[in-house]
Symmetry: C2
Subunit: 238 residues, 2 copies
């Protein structure tokens, strides 16, 4: 078990770990269908949209293109999907607003309560591939009580590039071993723990919808495995 | 008068504008004198410490040395002053803690109440030459309710270099004209407004102690001039 006393800062993955991106976008999309009297399959659209998340970032990570933030990558993918899903007739303002659905994702039911407890004892900050304004608008709308917002955009890199984890702990003024990465994804924790950060796995079996097959269980003995943020607060003695 | 509706984000200078650095350090220093049974002149020490603030940053701005954050610059100045003020016999942990007095500065009486009102309608963030951890530790200790912490450390530059103001608005996802710099210093507002940001001047005539001669009044017709953060909230219709 970890020495809880040595941890000062908690870094949170956001998409999937803190917020329900799939459910939120389907819900907003269906409201849009009702308003526009369209029949877009938003489950299919959001799965394809998120399906291009890693490939689009990989081009930046591999140096095949200069850094572009996630709003830009999301928009490029959306422009392709809009044609496929018959949304490309919409005016620019409407397409731009669809892209900003990622700024309006809803937290899981335990997220805000758990973070509020954790914040009393630890620095709490996201460390997400979402850009700063995306994370800020999301937090302000939903009331997510971050102490500050750390985005990989600050480092012009994308997780799991090491500069993102190391840059975050450096800005927070803590040693890697004094920071804990909290994520619903084993790969994120593997990258962070390879650099000396602590690890907490919070499975989110509904993140990818009913058919989810990955990240249902911890793949290594992470420092903490907890079913939600309240259980994480218990484990961290908050 | 400005079109209030166009402003989305407020960026705050911190040292002097939000917090009373001089009074806070004298108060902590006198408590240290009592504990250590020393007679250090903390008013003289803090004035000399702050006196080297601009010169120390200027070496970075001029490219005479690589970027170093404010904790590091503060420490270098302190090491010089410690000899002069007879503190150099103290153990390293004590000197390091004196340097962290800058992480524990106290807000002016109107700061937290005013920011809490402004936060309901606007993004509120510091844009300070203090490093991220300094600003974060200060905010967490004093309860300053920032939406996120922006420091010039993120850009590895120091105000008034243009990259700091432009980098901040870019991360916030707003146009320069949708951001307002709030400062007790005319020079900060001059640099920000030259780049298209809005400006609010909040005089802090006690910042430099009883003999203050600068920044007692606005030197240009800034968009807003208000005596404190509550009056700023009134002017911005919060």
């Amino acid at each position: 078990m970890i020495k809880v006393g040595s941890v000062k800062a908690l870094l949170f993955d956001v998409f999937g770990t803190c917020v329900d991106w799939r459910g939120s976008i389907i819900k907003e999309g269906e409201a849009l269908n009702a308003r526009l009297k369209t029949k877009t399959d938003w489950a299919a659209l959001v799965d394809a949209w998120r399906g291009n998340y890693q490939p689009s970032m990989e081009k930046v990570r591999a140096g095949e293109r200069p850094y572009a933030n996630l709003d830009k990558l999301h928009r490029e993918t959306l422009d392709t999907l809009a044609r496929k899903h018959g949304l490309d007739h919409l005016p620019e303002a409407e397409i731009a607003d669809i892209n900003r659905m990622w700024h309006r994702l809803e937290p899981w039911p335990d997220t805000i309560g758990g973070l509020s407890r954790l914040k009393k004892k630890y620095i709490v900050a996201p460390l997400s591939n979402g850009n700063v304004s995306l994370l800020l608008n999301m937090a302000k709308r939903a009331g997510i009580p971050w102490d500050t917002i750390l985005s990989t955009e600050i480092f012009r890199k994308y997780k799991p590039q090491p500069e993102t984890y190391l840059g975050a702990v450096q800005l927070l003024g803590v040693a890697p071993g004094e920071a804990m990465m909290v994520a619903a994804h084993n790969s994120d924790l593997a990258a962070a723990s390879a650099l000396g950060l602590r690890s907490a796995f919070i499975p989110r079996p509904g993140e990818y919808g009913p058919g989810q097959k990955t990240d249902l269980a911890p793949e290594r003995p992470w420092d903490i495995v907890a079913p939600d943020f309240n259980a994480l607060a218990d484990a961290l003695e908050c």
